[in-house]
């Protein structure tokens, strides 16, 4: 206990608080800028940690990580442009809320849910890190296949009014994901001799194209003559734009459920926050009494996506600390930063570097608290974005989208990819084909292919590998159950509309 209190004292030193503040502001700004990723920011700051001791290094990196994930939701809500892939699901309800003049409510709910998600995952990290990491170790290719297959059923939930259209968009996403070097044998597929396609299409250009650029094309139809926000009378506007206790009571179950899903996804190496946000959103819609409200601007939708994606931040540290397995790019960078500080992760960290473990818990918690303080004080400024006329705002955002897509690999090719998917997204919107299923299928496509092929190679083509294994079979049962619920809801919704 004495050691823990000592570490709190170290973390609360003035320099560390200043670093936390600066990194939180930078994280929110970077997260909110399309194309500037949390990974990029954390990677750029790692060299700085060489000059710092452990506490300020952790303060800086965690503040960037946590606030960067939240920052993605700001632009997702205000201008339908997810700053990070983790905020893609937030656009589904956040942007409609902004259009209805309820941007403030959406931003507050995103902040509240992000904080809750982050804190719940830290709690789980502290209490059950060792056991959960051991459970995650039992996941072989067959278990991963069925888990990812379960995650793919979200495509059906995200399909909106026409499930076939959503599934078609999902199949298009799976097809697009096959471009690039094959994940097992590294044989180039559909690259047509272009070196830029060897790694496939990038997430960020595709995401920006499908969500942000396509939205700009839609807004261009009337030559951007209005502001984003619908005009409301003063009284109703303020009442609509506040986060109330009723909203929190409506969403608390969703927040806890999504935080647990996010934590679970975060423990699995290589899946990440982008999948977690859709998973949380999809499951919240499936469990909701009013699933038809999802996608039209409901606080529950924002809460589900944001709680899930921020819950990943604590959870990805579980396999890192316990087993030395980085769950995503940021934790891989954090792993390097810890090594620079002379801290070796793995089971022995709890014996050899208990001070570092405590410091990680404390600084991660402080990063979440600072995120709330900084974001809350900036909320008024954020909300004003929706007052800017679209004819000014969207050309500026377009420039940032171009630069953001370029900056991922310093490639103009990626900018063309962004533009091409913007055009595809525009026509999909016009033909009422949802774009979210395409994105989630694209994100899950490669890991799913890898897991399926590894499973089949391991079993020499025997499909029973997915049914014999208890965890895999459990996920298949869950998948069947969730498909049944989705189909039932879909038929009920059709009958009601008739």
């Amino acid at each position: 206990m004495g050691l823990f209190i000592d570490q709190i004292g170290i973390a609360l030193q003035g320099t560390n608080l200043l670093i936390l503040f600066i990194a939180t502001v930078a994280g929110i700004l970077i997260g909110a800028t399309p194309g500037l990723t949390v990974n990029m920011a954390v990677a750029l700051c790692v060299p700085l940690t060489v000059h710092f001791s452990l506490a300020p290094s952790l303060c800086m990196l965690f503040a960037l990580y946590v606030s960067g994930i939240y920052g993605g939701s700001v632009s997702a809500i205000l201008v339908n442009t997810p700053g990070t892939p983790a905020a893609a699901a937030t656009t589904l309800d956040g942007y409609p809320m902004a259009q209805q003049g309820r941007a403030g409510k959406a931003l507050h709910m995103a902040l509240f849910a992000s904080f809750c998600g982050g804190m719940i995952s830290i709690f789980i990290l502290v209490v059950v890190a060792k056991y959960l990491a051991n459970f995650a170790l039992k996941f072989g290719p067959a278990e991963r296949t069925t888990l990812l297959f379960f995650a793919l059923t979200i495509v059906g939930v995200l399909s909106g009014k026409s499930m076939i259209k959503g599934l078609l968009a999902g199949s298009l996403g799976l097809t697009v994901a096959t471009v690039g070097a094959d994940p097992m044998l590294a044989i180039p597929r559909f690259t047509f001799g272009l070196l830029e396609l060897e790694d496939g299409f990038g997430y960020i250009p595709l995401l920006i194209g499908l969500f942000a650029v396509s939205e700009m094309f839609l807004q261009a139809e009337d030559r951007m003559r209005r502001s984003i926000k619908a005009v409301r009378s003063g009284a109703s506007r303020s009442a609509h734009d506040r986060l109330t206790l009723a909203d929190i009571l409506l969403s608390w179950k969703t927040i806890i459920r999504s935080s647990l899903y996010g934590t679970f996804i975060g423990i699995m190496p290589g899946i990440g926050a982008a999948v977690a946000c859709f998973f949380g959103y999809g499951e919240a819609k499936r469990a909701s009494k009013n699933p038809d409200l999802f996608g039209t601007g409901t606080v529950e939708g924002v809460a589900a996506a944001e709680a899930a994606n921020n819950a990943v931040s604590g959870a990805t540290l579980i396999p890192l600390l316990s087993l030395s397995i980085p769950g995503d790019t940021v934790t891989a960078i954090l792993y390097g930063a810890l090594l620079i500080q002379g801290v070796t992760t793995g089971p022995l960290i709890f014996q050899n570097h208990l001070d570092a473990v405590y410091l990680i818990y404390i600084t991660l918690t402080m990063a979440n608290i600072f995120m709330v303080l900084v974001a809350y004080s900036c909320m008024g400024f954020f909300k004003r974005v929706t007052d800017i006329p679209r004819r000014i705002l969207f050309p500026i955002i377009f420039i940032f989208c171009v630069m953001g897509s370029f900056s991922i690999r310093n490639s103009v090719f990626d900018v063309f990819v962004m533009m091409a998917f913007g055009v595809i997204g525009y026509f999909m919107h016009r033909l009422t084909i949802p774009v979210a299923p395409m994105l989630i299928a694209f994100i899950l496509g490669r890991p799913f292919e890898e897991a399926v092929r590894q499973s089949l190679v391991g079993s020499e083509g025997d499909l029973s590998v997915f049914f014999v294994n208890p965890i895999a079979a459990g996920f298949l049962v869950l998948t069947a159950f969730s498909i049944c619920i989705t189909l039932r809801r879909s038929f009920q919704s059709k009958n009601t509309s008739k």
Binding site: I164, L167, F190, R223, R391, V423
Partner: protein, 164 residues
């Protein structure tokens, strides 16, 4: 031929899946399944497996969509055909053109020159009239982009002929 728009969407995706499966997937060198090795035989799933799988899923879903829309057309259900009026599509095409020209010019002209020109073109087309604001925003945003990406995030933005 049913007039329901979803039928055409289904037909498009069906054609896409067929073209993909018959003409594009076979360009990948290895078959979806192979047994190889001089003395030892091993089973593997090749790189064509998943593209074929995704094409098959797309084809089945497209067929289902066509059947559904044919039934809707027969019984008069479903959404009416939707078209994009030309006066709506024209500004979109103009915006797409400005964007494409901007991206094309990045490598040759450079970010610092192409960005303000692109912004000025967009602002003017979307009816922002005051030149003072147009110029202030165009050059201000360009400076912000330069500082944020090039200086702060150390991204080497395209410099075009300025690099020479």
């Amino acid at each position: 031929m049913p007039k329901h728009p979803n039928f055409k969407i289904g037909l498009f995706f069906l054609a896409l899946s067929v073209v993909f499966a018959l003409f594009i997937v076979p360009t990948v060198g290895e078959d979806w399944r192979k047994t190889a090795g001089a003395d030892v035989e091993f089973f593997t799933v090749g790189p064509r497996f998943f593209p074929y799988l995704s094409a098959a899923i797309m084809a089945v879903l497209s067929a289902l969509m066509m059947i559904e829309s044919a039934l809707q057309a027969k019984y008069g259900a479903g959404a009416p055909p939707s078209t994009i009026p030309w006066d709506h599509l024209k500004p979109v095409l103009v915006f797409m053109t400005i964007g494409t020209v901007y991206i094309l010019s990045l490598s040759s002209v450079g970010t610092l020159i192409a960005t303000p020109l692109c912004l000025i073109a967009c602002f003017r087309y979307f009816d922002l009239r005051q030149w003072r604001w147009i110029l202030l925003l165009a050059f201000g945003i360009t400076a912000m982009v330069y500082l944020c990406f090039e200086k702060l995030m150390m991204v080497p933005l395209p410099r075009g002929f300025l690099d020479m």
